[in-house]
C-alpha cells in the first residue's frame, strides 16, 4: 500500500507537461478573448505563410490558423475530456460490479467486453458513425462507450484483487450489502491505481477524436478542431505549405504533456526492478 510521505515533487518533465497543458486549457476556456480573429471568419487570402498579422498563416479559405488552433483547443480537448469521464463512469462502475457481484455477473460482463474488444475500436467506431451520422452527441457516446470496455478490464482486474482481501471479507461477514462494499471498501482502493490510467485514456481518446475528425467522421465544420484542420489543409503539404503541421503539433504537444505527467505519477509508486541491483 502507498503511504503518503512517498509523494514526490514533480519532475522537471512533469512540470513542463503541466505548463503546456495549462496553456492549452486556458486557450480552450478563454478562446474568444485570446484569439486575434474569429473561429470561422475568412480574414485574408488563402494559404498565406506565417506573417506578423497571421502568425501561423491562413488556411484553404483564408481563415487565420492561429485563431483556429486556439478555438480548436475547446472542441478537441473538451470532447476528449467528456468522452474520458463517460468511459470512466461506465467502465469503473461495471468493472467493480463484475468484481463484487459474483461469478455469473462477472462472466457475462467479461465475455461481452471480450467480444466488443475483438473488433478494432476504430473499425467499430467507423461502422457506428457511418450509420448514426457524426453528430457531436453520437461521437461522444460512441467513443465513451467503446473506451469504457478498456477501462472495464483494468477496473475489474484491480477490483478483483481488492475484493479477495480480508478487509472486504470482514465487511461481508458483518453482513454489509453489495453497494456498501463497492462504495466504501472496493472503490477507494481501486481508484488510486487508476489515476495514471485516466491520463492514458484521455490521451487515447484525444488521439482517437483527432483521427476520426481527420477521417472526416469526427467533429464537423464549421467548428474548429485540430484533427479536422489537418484534414482540411492536409494536401497543401505536398506544395510545401506547413499549414497542417500546426494543429498536428498542438495535438502532439498535448499528448506528450499528459504522458509526461502520467510518467511522473507512475514513478511515484514504482520500485526499481531487479535489473538495477548492485552487482
Amino acid at each position: 500500500m502507498t503511504n503518503n510521505n512517498s509523494f514526490r515533487n514533480p519532475t522537471l518533465s512533469a512540470e513542463i507537461g503541466m505548463v503546456i497543458l495549462a496553456v492549452f486549457i486556458i486557450c480552450a476556456i478563454f478562446a474568444p478573448f485570446i484569439a486575434p480573429f474569429g473561429e470561422a471568419e475568412s480574414v485574408g487570402k488563402t494559404w498565406l505563410g506565417p506573417s506578423s498579422k497571421f502568425w501561423l498563416g491562413t488556411d484553404n479559405i483564408g481563415r487565420d490558423m492561429l485563431s483556429r488552433v486556439i478555438y480548436g483547443a475547446r472542441m478537441t480537448l473538451g470532447v476528449a475530456a467528456i468522452c474520458t469521464c463517460l468511459s470512466f463512469l461506465i467502465g469503473v462502475t461495471m468493472g467493480l460490479l463484475a468484481a463484487v457481484a459474483g461469478k455469473i455477473v462477472d462472466q457475462v460482463l467479461s465475455r461481452f467486453v471480450d467480444l466488443m474488444l475483438s473488433i478494432p475500436i476504430l473499425v467499430f467506431a467507423l461502422m457506428i458513425l457511418s450509420m448514426f451520422g457524426s453528430s457531436l452527441l453520437t461521437l461522444i457516446i460512441t467513443i465513451g462507450v467503446l473506451d469504457s470496455f478498456r477501462v472495464f478490464r483494468l477496473a475489474r482486474s484491480i477490483a478483483v484483487n481488492v475484493v479477495v482481501t480480508e478487509f472486504v471479507e470482514v465487511a461481508r461477514l458483518r453482513g454489509e450489502g453489495l453497494w456498501w462494499i463497492m462504495r466504501h471498501e472496493v472503490l477507494p482502493n481501486s481508484l488510486p491505481p487508476m489515476i495514471a490510467e485516466l491520463g492514458l485514456r484521455f490521451c487515447f481518446n484525444f488521439l482517437f477524436v483527432a483521427s476520426l475528425s481527420f477521417l472526416g467522421l469526427g467533429i464537423q465544420p464549421p467548428f474548429a478542431d485540430w484533427g479536422g484542420m489537418v484534414r482540411e489543409s492536409g494536401r497543401a503539404i505536398s506544395f510545401g505549405i506547413p499549414a497542417p503541421l500546426w494543429p498536428a503539433l498542438a495535438i502532439g504537444l498535448t499528448t506528450i504533456s499528459v504522458n509526461m505527467i502520467v510518467d511522473w505519477i507512475l514513478s511515484i509508486n514504482a520500485r526499481p526492478s531487479g535489473a538495477s541491483a548492485e552487482m
Binding site: M131, G133, G227, G252, I256, G274, A277
Partner: protein, 315 residues
C-alpha cells in the same frame, strides 16, 4: 497441451462467429432503419420503400443475417451500392496491398523494437534507457498523421526522395513498390516500434525482478548469461503477446495512414465506404479487420501456450 490449443482454436472460431453477428447488428439493426440513413432525410417515402425492398429490409433480421453470412462464407460479399461492383473483386487486391504495407512495417519494426526494448530494460536507468524512453514517448504521443506529414514535408516535398502519394499498381515491380510505399511504412514502423519497445521493456523488467534472476546473479553468472539464459526464456510469452497486440495495432493504424498517402488498401476502401454509407463495403471491410484481429489473438495465445514451460511439461 494439445487440448488447450484445440480449445483455443475453437474459442477463436466462436469469437469470429460472434464478430459477424456484431458487425451485422451494428450496421443493420442498431440504427433502426438503414434505408433512411443511407438516402438521407431528403428521400421521399416512395423511394425509401423501394430502396428497402432493394436491400431486402422487409424480411426479418435473422433471415438476412444468415443469408449474408452464408454468402460471405461462399466468398460473396455482395455488391457495392455506389458503383455496383462486386465487393470481393475490389477488396482482394486492396487486402493484398494492405498486407504488403503492414508486413513491410512489421518486418522492420518487430526486430528493432524487441531488441531495443530488451536493451533498454537491462540497462534500466542508464542513458540508453532514458533516450529510448523519451523518443518512444514522443512517438506514441503524436497522431499518426503528424508523423506522416512531417515525413512528407521533409522527404517528399523538400528532399524529393520519395513520392508523397503512394499510388501502387498491380504491374509495379517489387522494388518499385518498396520505394513508393517507403514513407507510409516508415510512419507505421515508428509508431509500432515505440509501442512495442515500451511494452517489451516493461515485460522484461517484470522478469528481471523475479527471485530466480537474483539467484542467477548470486550464482556468479555474468550479466549477459543471466539475461540470455535465465530472463529471456521466461520473457518469451509476454513478448509474444506484445507482438500480437502491436500487429493488431498496426492493422488499425493502417486505416489513417492509407488515407494520408492515398494508398489503395482496405482501410481507405472502408473510409470511402463510410463516407458514402455503402453498407456492403463497410460490412466486408469490418469483417476483414475483425477477422485479422481474431486470427492474430488466437495465434498469439497458441504460441504462448506452446512456450510456457509450466504447460509444456505438466506434472
Amino acid at each position: 497441451m494439445l487440448r488447450l490449443i484445440l480449445t483455443r482454436i475453437f474459442l477463436g472460431c466462436l469469437t469470429l462467429f460472434a464478430v459477424t453477428i456484431l458487425i451485422f447488428a451494428a450496421t443493420e439493426i442498431l440504427p433502426g432503419d438503414v434505408a433512411s440513413a443511407i438516402l438521407g432525410q431528403g428521400a421521399t417515402p416512395e423511394t425509401l420503400a423501394a430502396f428497402r425492398i432493394e436491400l431486402g429490409l422487409n424480411r426479418p433480421a435473422y433471415v438476412r443475417y444468415f443469408e449474408w453470412l452464408s454468402n460471405a462464407l461462399q466468398g460473396d460479399l455482395g455488391t457495392a451500392l455506389t458503383n455496383k461492383r462486386e465487393v470481393l473483386a475490389t477488396i482482394t487486391p486492396r487486402l493484398i496491398n494492405t498486407l504488403f504495407l503492414a508486413g513491410y512495417a512489421a518486418v522492420i519494426a518487430v526486430p528493432i523494437a524487441i531488441f531495443l526494448g530488451i536493451v533498454a530494460a537491462i540497462n534500466e536507468g542508464k542513458w540508453i534507457d532514458r533516450a529510448a524512453n523519451i523518443v518512444s514517448l514522443g512517438a506514441i504521443s503524436v497522431p499518426e498523421f503528424f508523423i506522416a506529414y512531417i515525413l512528407i514535408f521533409v522527404f517528399a516535398t523538400n528532399l524529393g526522395w520519395f513520392p508523397s502519394l503512394s499510388t501502387v499498381y498491380s504491374d509495379m515491380g517489387f522494388w518499385q513498390k518498396i520505394h513508393v510505399v517507403a514513407l507510409p511504412s516508415i510512419t507505421l514502423t515508428m509508431l509500432v516500434t515505440a509501442h512495442m519497445l515500451r511494452m517489451t521493456r516493461a515485460s522484461v523488467l517484470a522478469i528481471m525482478s523475479q527471485p530466480y534472476i537474483e539467484m542467477a546473479f548470486l550464482k556468479g553468472l555474468p550479466r549477459n548469461q543471466v539475461i540470455l539464459h535465465h530472463a529471456l526464456p521466461n520473457a518469451a510469452a509476454p513478448i509474444i503477446s506484445v507482438i500480437a497486440l502491436n500487429l493488431a495495432y498496426l492493422i488499425v493504424g493502417v486505416v489513417v495512414i492509407e488515407v494520408v498517402f492515398v494508398y489503395p488498401g482496405v482501410g481507405q476502401y472502408m473510409v470511402d465506404g463510410v463516407s458514402k454509407r455503402d453498407l456492403p463495403v463497410i460490412q466486408a471491410c469490418a469483417l476483414v479487420f475483425g477477422g485479422a484481429f481474431v486470427l492474430l489473438n488466437t495465434v498469439a495465445d497458441i504460441l504462448i501456450i506452446m512456450v510456457n514451460p509450466l504447460l509444456r511439461n505438466s506434472r
